[in-house]
Symmetry: C2
Subunit: 263 residues, 2 copies
DNA sequence: AAATGATGTTTCATTATATGAAATGAAACA
DNA sequence: TGTTTCATTTCATATAATGAAACATCATTT
């Protein structure tokens, strides 16, 4: 990121290697689908059993890791879930907007999601489930791609120009055949989004699913969130129903107005 | 430090003090509602700025911590949310049961929650929102009290006897005037729960809110989860409607049957 | 019933490396 | 301009992390 990297690939700036190893252990355990043996973790991280053991003890003491009582093996602890939820609640939008989002869900019948971009990540903060049995919508804590989601396009169209430039210049991964993968197509789509005030991404993330998103601004007119309805293309056509657009854009505007009062 | 433990209640067994400090820093940042200055964190943890700084650099590199670009202050990073979500998906019940839970929501109109106990914690794994505008239900990642929630009573009634004994003998905190706070009353209630196969907690966690919970077992007949409907007492009376009981207990049995097929 | 091979756990000498005080930037403020 | 308030870097010191190998448990196998 802010790395000159000085030719020799020797990038050992500040930081603590002990902590680094321990964090890698946590991430390793989260990735595993079943509890891992100590030796297995040590091997995966190219460290010794004793070292990993001591770190696991401390991690366990804090609840980041848990040990299966029967087998003695280690797995990720629920503290991560608890902290994740505590963190989620810090975002103004989710609490300020819940009632409006419920109304939007009831009016459209579709699932509603809220997203925010933090640095280089676009993350789902809130999900109000729809009424359909089959669930497409992404859950809080999920990361979305900027170029391949309706939420992402809102952030590229109305967010910081630096981010938009960086994303447009970078590689654009295709999730489906419909995903936008060229810079030109993306910029053209973003121009359209700016003009209309809403974005869609039919079949671009999952075939058969569409999302209709709109921006939420705070009192300084800076983008602080995006809201969207998510559903089968059958219910949200590539060019959505005018009623759907009115509902989503109207709800976003209402939430924005609510954020203006604060502060 | 370097203390041969014993004598002074402080037992410093295995573990890593460096890591311990860093984890405390993460927890501190999650607790704060706004970004914290380096010196503030160092002071709170009785450490030096330099030490904390180096740890924050490493934590940031892993996404556990983020630095506000404008002010340079530190706050918790979204990695915690992402890892929390990844962890949640590891539980069989949430994926195996979603369709049934949606149906339960649609039949009862109330919010549906799923819980599991891990060691000494009772945690919400899944939430299907109801159709009412006002939301009572707890979100995934929230911890519940064993003695003061319908989910908790299911775990005390059908879970391990050791846990039940430990909880019943410990202090029972009152959340509302209706919370059960004596061992006798709790054990009597649990006997009733075992007999009926379902549990309620009217007004016991929040006044005006009731929950109706039932147990989910796996193929070995061990308790692996609990499901419940949550709503205003107006909709879920202290003695729920027979239809509601049938729906919840029936859904739990259906999910249990689903888990039997696997493995 | 003894032996084997999985585990996790502890010990201990060795030195790598985390540490704190203070110096240095950098930026906002008055 | 000077002053305050931040984060960041430097550097000598010894704290505290480290790995190899021994130990302890528990199943499973012979």
């Amino acid at each position: 990121m802010t790395e000159p990297d000085s030719a020799s690939g020797k990038s050992a700036p500040a930081g603590t290697s002990t902590l680094d190893l321990a964090l890698r252990a946590v991430e390793y355990l989260v990735q595993q689908s079943r509890p891992a043996a100590l030796a297995q973790i040590a091997e995966a991280l190219s460290s010794s059993k004793a070292t990993i053991y001591r770190h696991l003890v401390t991690l366990q003491r804090h609840g980041f890791v848990r040990q299966e009582p029967e087998t003695g093996r280690y797995e990720a602890g629920i503290k991560l879930m608890v902290l994740g939820e505590a963190l989620r609640q810090r975002f103004d939008i989710v609490s300020a907007a819940r009632a409006d989002l419920m109304t939007l869900r009831d009016h459209t019948g579709q699932a509603v999601t809220v997203c925010a971009a933090i640095d280089t990540e676009l993350i789902v903060l809130e999900l109000i489930q729809g009424r359909t049995l089959i669930e497409f919508a992404t859950r809080p804590g999920t990361r979305l791609a900027f170029h391949a989601s309706a939420h992402g396009k809102i952030w590229l169209a109305f967010g910081s120009k630096e981010r938009t430039a960086a994303i447009a210049d970078g590689p654009l991964q295709a999730w489906t055949p419909a995903t936008i993968v060229t810079k030109e197509a993306l910029l053209a789509d973003l121009a359209l989004v700016r003009e209309r005030g809403w974005a869609t991404a039919p079949d671009e993330v999952i075939t058969g699913v569409n999302t209709l998103a709109a921006p939420v601004f705070d009192h300084r007119q800076t983008l602080v969130g995006s809201i969207a309805i998510v559903g089968a293309t059958q219910f949200i056509p590539p060019t959505p129903d005018p009623d759907q657009i009115r509902e989503v854009v109207g709800t976003a505007a209402r939430i924005s107005r609510g954020l203006t009062w604060q502060d």
